[in-house]
């Protein structure tokens, strides 16, 4: 009896501790499903007739599909380039203990983003590259490339070396063994770093705020603009926020087990 009671107590606590994340998520969706009037009524309405009108408006009046595509393109490019450049580098850092490159990565992560933004803004203004995918992708690489390397070093370090040695004895070149033996072995790590990179690029606000424009505006800037026209369109914000947050949440869900490993292992080892 006491055991059942303690178990009930534990689950009550677990539900209470899970409420804050769930509540904000639910409130975001509810805001998107309410009309403008319902959103500013007091007391707040919990039960109401949901409407998809805001989602229609977000796509038709605010051209949100364009912004989603912009974000997809920039995050996709940044992630792809980061993997191509970052995977061999991380492998080498792990295998040959190249600590100096590691320090370079750390400095890149520590430097305030504004420190990069100012020079890049001046350069891109000069080259007339403001409001281009090039400018956004380059600046997003500042975040995603160090992140991919950071995460992958820990995965490469955790890989058994014997398998690679066996491949070399079988006559593989080192390049072949890297491409055909090593990379498939760390596919969990690749998936994790790719998704982390995608999430951080997708969520990136500061660079896009200054360097994007009408043609390349990404979703965080697009949703932010809902408040900058004098009056705040809360229903629109709810719908837009839901559309932005949903894809990255789903991605994170798939790699939830390895995300923690990837983010911490690098910090735990030297």
């Amino acid at each position: 009896m006491t055991k059942t009671f303690r178990s009930i107590l534990f689950y009550a606590g677990a539900v209470a501790l899970s409420l804050p994340p769930v509540f904000v998520f639910v409130w975001m969706i509810l805001t998107g499903l309410k009309t403008g009037v319902q959103n500013i009524s007091y007391p707040p309405e919990f039960i109401f007739m949901p409407t998809l009108e805001n989602f229609r408006a977000v796509f038709q009046q605010h051209n949100f599909f364009r912004y989603l595509m912009n974000s997809l393109i920039v995050a996709g490019l940044a992630t792809g380039i980061s993997l191509v450049l970052g995977l061999p580098a991380a492998y080498s850092i792990a295998k040959y203990r190249q600590g100096k490159i590691g320090i370079l990565i750390l400095v890149a992560r520590m430097t305030p983003f504004v420190s990069y933004l100012l020079p890049w803004y001046i350069i891109f203004r000069h080259l007339k590259l403001i409001d281009t995918y090039t400018a956004l992708t380059i600046t997003h690489l500042i975040i995603t490339l160090p992140m991919v390397i950071w995460v992958m070093v820990s995965f490469f370090e955790g890989m058994p070396e014997e398998l690679e040695d066996a491949a070399m004895i079988d006559g593989c070149s080192r390049l072949q063994s890297f491409l055909m033996i090593v990379l498939p072995l760390v596919r969990n790590g690749i998936a994790t770093s790719a998704i982390l990179s995608f999430i951080f690029s997708w969520n990136q606000f500061l660079f896009s705020l200054i360097l994007s424009g009408p043609k390349t505006k990404t979703v965080p800037v697009a949703v932010y603009n809902f408040i900058s026209y004098g009056k705040i369109d809360w229903a629109g914000i709810g719908a837009a926020a839901t559309l932005i947050v949903l894809p990255v949440s789903v991605f994170a869900f798939f790699v939830r087990r390895t995300i923690v490993q990837g983010l911490t292992m690098g910090a735990l080892k030297d």
């Binding site: 490159i101 430097t111 606000f205 914000i237």
Partner: protein
């Protein structure tokens, strides 16, 4: 063709330690090192973007920032915001991780729920928080009033704006710390626990004398990871308050952004950014020392 390919392949194999990291290092040199160098150069100049050329003024910007009251305010806000949010996230993260550190049905669900605030786009959830924190019609004050508590002005008052922003930061990042510490707890050795139990230690004593020392390196690592972003918090503060009311939530980082991109003072803004970098660096150097010492024990 095949010969050329195998020659390239042989070259790559022989110089693996050089060829593999080279493209990434070159890329980082161009996208990271050169901008930082340019930024450092600008700190010694006076220049309004779009007007004339940078003019060398030596240490003039650093002299100016010492007597700039908004710098002092920025440092105060930064210490208040980061000190409160980092310590709350760490303590709550640890306690919640200890709570969930057992086998139970639904642990998968908790993990899935806890990854959400981490992944959620900061600007998007900050806007939702801004709606929820509205003093008149926001749902948070409604819930407080419905259980008989007084509402708060939250981000609309200079007195409560920092605690309110801390609350949003704690909401977004405590789950991540929890997951990291939980992974650390699961990998701890069993022997010290058995020894403590045989010696008759109670739950609290086990937590204080066994778990806490063992988990300390993980905690410090999580703190370092978190501090990298927390000391440079931008999206959330900019979206919810833009540094207001007045300048009561303007961190040094936000001020450096304003100087650079609202006032277009490139030289002075760069000097402020360097100060922010030095603060982040100093914090991490101290933390790393603590971590290495904690690992030795």
């Amino acid at each position: 063709m095949k010969n050329a390919f195998s020659a390239v392949s042989r070259f790559i194999d022989r110089r693996q330690a050089f060829v593999y990291p080279a493209p990434a290092v070159i890329a980082i040199f161009f996208i990271v090192v050169i901008p930082i160098a340019y930024n450092l150069y600008l700190t010694f100049t006076k220049w309004t973007i779009g007007l004339g050329q940078p003019r060398w003024i030596g240490l003039g910007n650093f002299v100016e920032l010492i007597s700039d009251e908004r710098v002092l305010n920025g440092v105060k806000v930064m210490v208040y915001f980061s000190g409160l949010s980092l310590s709350l996230e760490l303590v709550l993260g640890l306690l919640i991780a200890v709570y969930f550190n057992r086998e139970f049905k639904g642990s998968e669900i908790v993990q899935a729920i806890y990854i959400f605030p981490f992944a959620a786009t900061p600007v998007a959830v900050a806007l939702i928080w801004r709606i929820m924190l509205n003093p008149e019609i926001g749902v948070i004050n409604y819930l407080l009033r419905s259980v008989g508590l007084p509402g708060s002005l939250w981000v609309s008052s200079p007195l409560t704006v920092i605690p309110a922003l801390v609350m949003v930061d704690v909401w977004k990042w405590t789950p991540m710390i929890t997951l990291i510490v939980l992974a650390g707890l699961k990998s701890l050795p069993h022997d010290p626990y058995e020894a403590a139990r045989i010696d008759g230690a109670n739950t609290f004593q086990i937590f204080w004398y066994v778990t806490l020392p063992l988990i300390r390196p993980v905690m410090i690592a999580a703190l370092m990871l978190r501090s990298l972003d927390n000391l440079k918090e931008f999206d959330m503060i900019y979206t919810i308050t833009q540094g207001g009311p007045g300048i009561s939530s303007e961190t040094l980082y936000l001020y450096s952004y304003n100087v650079g991109f609202s006032f277009f003072k490139a030289g002075y803004g760069s000097a402020l950014m360097v100060v922010v970098f030095l603060i982040v660096l100093a914090f991490n150097v101290v933390m790393n020392r603590m971590r290495l010492r904690a690992q030795e024990i």
